[in-house]
Amino acid sequence: MNNRPSPKLAIHRREFLGLSALGLGISLVGARAAAAAPSVASPDNVAILYDPVKCVGCKACQMACKRWNKLPNESTDPLGIYESPRDLSAITWNIIKLRRTEVGWHFFNYQCMHCTDAACVEVCPTRALFHDPLGFVALDRQKCNGCGYCTQFCPYGVPHLQVANLLTGEAKSAKCTFCQDRLWSGIGGPSCAEVCPVGALVWGKRGDLLDRARARVAELQAQGLNARIYGENEAGGLRRLSILLGEPEEYGLPSVPKTPAFARAWQRIIQPLGNVAFGAALLGILGAFLFVRRKIRMEEVK
């Protein structure tokens, strides 16, 4: 052992480089690959446009969604009010609610906003939630493991967990999927938009729908209504565009959805930094191990 030739130094260097590569590799492999390119709201994406002025509150959209997705009825308190059920849930993915603005009482449809900067996609650890090339946020229930992060990070509170067992954590995420199965099999578009008898809920190319929405808003404003488009740029651009007759907050919608940024910071900054920490720890330990091996002789250890 004492007859080591002077390439002792060369071995040190080789080992050092190897360790650096190992440490760096661990950090990079762990880091969320930016190669999972962020979605961009393109005019060729599909989208839905909702116009509350045309909406008559018939709830055909609610029923069509239930029917196509084979969702069970939800039991609600018969309080004699029009909202039934009260809110989106694990088995209600499309809902008509009553809102009041300066215009007065009117209906408003709520469903998944299919964001570009989708917090749910960002935090999903299985990629069960993902952006379809057409732009909407699809859900692969097979992949979903029921962790529930999507339900907590969505700024609109859209996804809900279908909980089979709270103790074991068995659950599945549930939300409007833009009728992904209808689109993928070529049957058509979202049931809700196809069934709407008055054309309040329509679907098509996002670019076209935005043009229509702008024209419509101009028309409504000319009538003295405080109309605006919601979804053009929010969260990077939503694929569920809405015409609002008031402030977003009056509809329970955030004017600036903040959670996607929080979700991104968690996934793309904090976690990769954690990986750097792991890599550094492993690097340091391996380095120390090899260094100490040479430096401390067992005979001197008490």
């Binding site: 650890p125 709270l166 954590g169 954690g274 920490a277 720890a281 100490v292 430096k295």
Partner: protein
Amino acid sequence: MTVQLKGRPEVIQIQWIPKYTTLERAAHWIHTATFVPLAITGMILYFPFLEPLAQGEAGLFIRLVHRVAAVIFGLLPIVYFIFEPRRLLMNIREFLPNKEDLGWLKATPAYYLLGRHEAMPPQGRFNAGEKMNGLVMIVAWAVFGITGVPMWFGKGVIPPEIFRWLVVFHDLAMIVSVCMFLVHLYLAVAHPLMWAGLVSMRFGVTSAEYAMEHHAKWYYGPKRAMEIWEAKKREAAHKGGH
């Protein structure tokens, strides 16, 4: 006990001093046996390259394992507190840092990397590094519990705004405690100077000579330990290094 290495004429006498009770040792190893699966199952939701393991049925199973281990992990210190409260309180007291721990920090490279024995000031029952490990673990245990239980039962109950912070802190606690664990593992298993550490955690006793060197304040008492160290430093200076 008398130890003779094969083929060597010398005989080593080892005096054993009790250090850890049976409950403490059992708790430590059960803690290890739950911490590792917890870290691994947690990491499956953390590292994108482990995605396939996180999906579908596999993912459900992983999360179930995480919960089962979490319950044991969480209850362990409570069981310890019920059966040996004085020991738990004594150990917590021994973990608390004091000014002298800075001396350990300064001496770390000289002692752990170069083996310079006289560089290290006398340590108590736990040296400053062990204190760091203990405190990190205690704080991490608390953070995991405080964040984990609502994460398990609180979806739809606690406001999502709070939930988001809980998962972030759960992550941070994991990062810190796993890094600490890796260092702890290396020192306990692979570092030549720390040989009696693993013996003491397996069998409950540590060698008197080891304690004399590594935990002198615990062995001799603070005053005499300092005197002995000053003498050692003077001797090393006279010899001009080791």
